[in-house]
Structure formats: C-alpha cells, structure tokens
C-alpha cells in the first residue's frame, strides 16, 4: 500500500509542477526571432570567424538584428547571401565571390636568396630576421604560415620555389591567410579578375629589378596600354579599378617584366554571327584595337587582334534587341595582332567571299 501512495503522491506533485511550469512559460514567454534561427540554418557552420563575428551564431544574430549585411558570410558567397536575403526579405547585393591571391611571383627562380635561412619554419619568425632571406624584402617567404592558417586546406607551399600557391577552387575567401601573412602578399580579389598586378614592391626601376626579375618597376606602360582608364598609380604600383577593367589583358601584354600577370588561357574573343550581322558598323567604330573589319552594310568579321574586351557586344544594336550577333567566348588560340586574320574562317566562308566581291 505504501508504494501506491508513493506513486500517487509523487505523480500528483509531478502533474501539479508540470501545470505550474506551463503557466510560467506562458507568462514569461520570450519572443525569439524566428528569422535568426532560419539564417543560422543557412550559414555554412564552419565557425571560421571570417565574417568578423564570433562564429556562425554570432553572425546570424548580427544579420537578424540588421547589424550585418545579408552577404556578411564571405565563405558562403552568393548562394548563401541569396538564401539569407530571401529570409530577411531584402535583395542581395551583387557581391562577387572573392578568392585569395598571392601578390608576388618571387619564387627562388625569380627572386634570389640573400642567405640560407635555417631558423624556425615560419614566415613571421623568418621575416623578423633582417626582413627575410630573399633579396626582395616584400617577397613571399614561402614557409607556410598561411598554409597553417587556412582552415580549408586551400594553400600549399611550392617547396622548390619557396612560394605559396593557392587552390582557387578550395579557397572560401575567409581572409585568414591575409591576416596571417607577415609580408602582406595575399589579397582577396574578385574571382573573375583574370589580370592583375602580382607584385607589391613600391620601389621603382633598378631598386626592384636588381632584386627580382619580374617585379614591378613602376614604368607605367600598363597605364598607357589600358584603353579603359582602369589603371592608376598608387605608391609606384599600378592599381586596377575592377569596375572599369574589361579583362582585355593589354596591360599584361605591355608589361616589360611580367609583373602584370594575366591568365591568357582564359582570354576572351568576340565572334560575329554572319547570319545575323547586317553590317551597321557600330562595332567597328567602337573597337579600340582595330580588330573588326568589313565595309558598311556588309557583314563584318573579327580578326586576331581582338582582345575580348566586349565593347562591341555591348554597343551592337542587334545584341540590344536580344539577338546574339556578337558572342564573347573563350579564345582557342593566342592573340596575334599582326596576322589580323578572321578568327573563324571556316565558319564564315560566305562572309569572306562577299567581302571580296564588294
């Protein structure tokens, strides 16, 4: 009988307390922000701190309270920003994904060593010793401090050349390597930027070239080569305005030292569809490289001088109407302004024939 009482008494107490708790929970109910939890769900959850907040929870709090923009997470990129934006009910800004790039080509093949460094295998330690062991004091140490800082395994060291190499596929642009590098040779740059200066030595002339074969000597030839006024000199170094740059890569062609580095394999080229072109001449007048040939009212064609800047495609009146008269695609052979031949002679034999008749 005793045990029955025990069950009854404790059971009754339990039920009574349960009711009490439910009542207090209702009285003291706290409205939690449902959007905050939804934002937290969308964030990657790596807790890398790249956003500047303490982990993904802190970032979600900040976004929900409006203290941070919807694209605050650099790791998630545009995808996450879009999802967060739909939760928060705002448009995501067109923030392009960035990647970390090494702003130095001073591997030991280009930049000699001054002495043999046998100290701690760490860039910070090495750079305190007489500004590092390379002849250029701005050069990448290549001892792997950024490699250790990278939470995504996107950086490895070229052991022969002693320079950091970044895998852009793996890079999540969290910016930890940028903060870790004692030489400040890593910068976050837009992923679509295929041409940029890969040197940050502010010296000019021999002060640079004596130390490194491909350092920027401040000759300003790139500025003269740029047809879009996208380059300006800052601290004796050319700085590209990414909003103006059209990836024509003429600056890289003009550079005498290869300090202005371009991925020429990714260079674009414009191609005119002969079946659509009416020969209005708008593209020919716009082209700053003399790459478009053809008489008025006759189908135009583009020769090998094309740099793929895309100006012609943006002014073509037929393109504006939604037709694909001028298409920009990846170039399949190197640019050759001397040859000045049609890019795709096989595809447009009729066009060439007509041009001859006229």
């Amino acid at each position: 009988m005793n045990i029955v009482w025990a069950i009854v008494v404790l059971g009754a107490m339990g039920i009574l307390f349960g009711i009490l708790l439910t009542w207090t929970a209702k009285v003291f109910a706290v409205e939690s922000n449902p959007r905050r939890d939804a934002v937290r769900e969308v964030l990657p959850g790596a807790n890398c701190g790249g956003c500047g907040f303490p982990g993904c929870d802190g970032c979600a709090d900040a976004i929900a309270e409006g203290r941070a923009p919807v694209n605050a997470c650099p790791v998630g990129g545009a995808d996450v920003a879009k999802k967060v934006a739909s939760i928060m009910g705002v448009e995501a800004g067109e923030e392009e994904k960035k990647v970390a790039r090494v702003v130095c080509q001073g591997g030991t093949d280009n930049c000699k060593t001054r002495f043999s460094y046998n100290g701690i295998h760490d860039c910070v330690a090495a750079s305190t010793l007489s500004d590092g062991y390379k002849t250029c004091k701005y050069a990448c140490m290549g001892l792997g401090t950024c490699e250790k800082a990278c939470p995504f395994g996107a950086i490895h060291m070229d052991e022969n050349r002693h320079i950091a190499v970044i895998d852009e596929e793996k890079c999540q642009s969290c910016g930890k390597c940028v903060a870790a590098c004692p030489k400040h040779v890593i910068e976050l740059r837009p992923i679509s930027q295929k041409v940029d200066l890969a040197c940050h030595n502010p010296g000019i002339g021999k002060a640079v070239s004596a130390n490194c074969q491909i350092g920027c000597i401040g000759c300003q030839r790139c500025i003269k080569a740029c047809k879009f006024e996208a380059i300006s000199m800052v601290d004796n170094l050319p700085k590209i305005d990414y909003t103006k740059c059209r990836q024509c890569m003429m600056c890289a062609e003009a550079c005498p030292t290869e300090a202005m580095k371009a991925v020429f394999e990714d260079r674009q080229v414009a191609v005119i569809d002969p079946s659509i072109c009416v020969g209005c001449g708008a593209c020919k007048r716009t082209c700053q490289f003399g790459a478009i040939q053809g008489e008025l009212k006759v189908r135009h064609f583009i020769n090998d001088a094309c740099t793929g800047c895309g100006e012609c495609a943006s002014v073509c009146p037929l393109n504006k109407k939604g037709k694909k008269c001028i298409v920009i695609r990846t170039r399949n052979r190197p640019r050759d302004p001397q040859a000045a031949l049609p890019v795709a002679p096989k595809a447009a034999p009729a066009k060439a024939g007509e041009a001859k008749k006229d």
Binding site: N2, W5, A6, V9, L10, M13, G14, F17, L20, L21, T24, A25, V27, F28, A29, V30
Partner: protein, 191 residues
C-alpha cells in the same frame, strides 16, 4: 526572537554553508569573476533556496511524514528544486536577459547544486517549524551570497594585481577560497 537572531548570525557567518560546510563550491568558483554576476547569482540562489525551504517543509510535513514516505525525501525535494529553478530561469529570461546570459550554465546547475538540497534536508532534520525553516533557508542563502560576493570582490582586485602567471585564474581563486575559509573559522565561538 532570540532564535531568529542566532539563526541569522549562525547561518550567515558561523555555519556558513560555503565557508564552513563546503557546499555549493561549483557556482562559488564559477560565477565569482565579476561582482555584478555574483550578485545576480546570489539573488537567484536566495530566491530558490527560500522558496524551496518553504515548499519542501510543506511537502515533508503534510505528505511524506503522514504517509510514511520519508525515504522518498531526496527525490521529492529534487523535484521541487528543479521546478523552482526552471521557473526562475523562465522569469529571468524575460525580465533580465543580460543577467540570464551572464549566469549561463550555472543557472540550470542550481538544480543539482548540493547547497539547495542540503538546506532543505537540514531544515527537516533540525526540526524547525514552517516559519523557522523558511527563515533558516533565507539566512543560509544570504550566507552563500555573502561568500560569493566577498570572493568576487577579491578576485576583481586579484585580476589587476601582478600575480605570477601560473597563479592567475583558478589556482589563485582556490587558494583565496581556502584562506577565506580559514578566516571564517574565526567566527567559531560567536554563539
């Protein structure tokens, strides 16, 4: 009246639950880094212990003893304490979110804190009546708060002092707590 006065001095100083009986050491060391948080924790514990003393006395006198369920004392008391802590947590979340965040994990830990259960059980074994039990609970909790606040004040000062690196933080706090316990022994002959 004399009983209440001696109870106040007794549980505040002479038989201080933390300093002389070594109950509730976890929050004593955990929440004593800042005076404000220590005060908040002290208030929360005072509320819980006072109310728990009141309710557990009623439960013991009118439910457990008449029905011969004294052996269920521990589990019944824990049930009461757990519910009270949950109520306090709900209320704090609504009324003072900053304090709720500052107390962090130590707030739910009051549930399993020995000082709360010890006070409730000691009230019964000491044979107090309802008013005395409640007052005793309140005094014991104030004693806990006093010890907590004293340590918080000392630790705030220690934070600024030039201590050896290996003494900073927990080691220093533990030694301080030990010295405090020794000094509380001085109240021994008071009543």
């Amino acid at each position: 009246m004399n009983v209440y006065l001696s109870m106040l001095i007794g549980y505040l100083l002479v038989n201080n639950y933390v300093m002389c009986q070594f109950f509730g050491i976890c929050p004593f060391l955990g929440v004593s880094k800042k005076f404000d948080t220590a005060l908040g924790m002290g208030m929360a514990v005072t509320f819980v212990i006072t109310l728990a003393s009141f309710i557990t006395w009623l439960v013991q006198t009118f439910l457990l003893t008449p029905l011969g369920l004294d052996y269920m004392q521990t589990i019944a008391f824990i049930l009461v304490i757990a519910v009270l802590v949950q109520v306090v947590e709900n209320a704090l979340k609504k009324l003072s979110y900053s304090l709720y965040q500052a107390l962090g994990v130590y707030l739910p830990l009051i549930t399993t804190n020995c000082v709360v259960l010890a006070v409730a059980i000691n009230n019964i074994t000491d044979g107090w009546n309802l008013l005395e039990a409640t007052f005793c609970g309140c005094c014991s909790a104030l004693g806990f708060t006093l010890a907590l606040l004293l340590l918080a004040c000392i630790r705030e000062r220690l934070e600024l002092s030039n201590m050896p690196k290996w003494m900073k933080g927990s080691p220093g706090a533990l030694i301080t707590a030990g010295l405090m316990a020794i000094s509380f022994m001085g109240f021994g002959g008071l009543i």
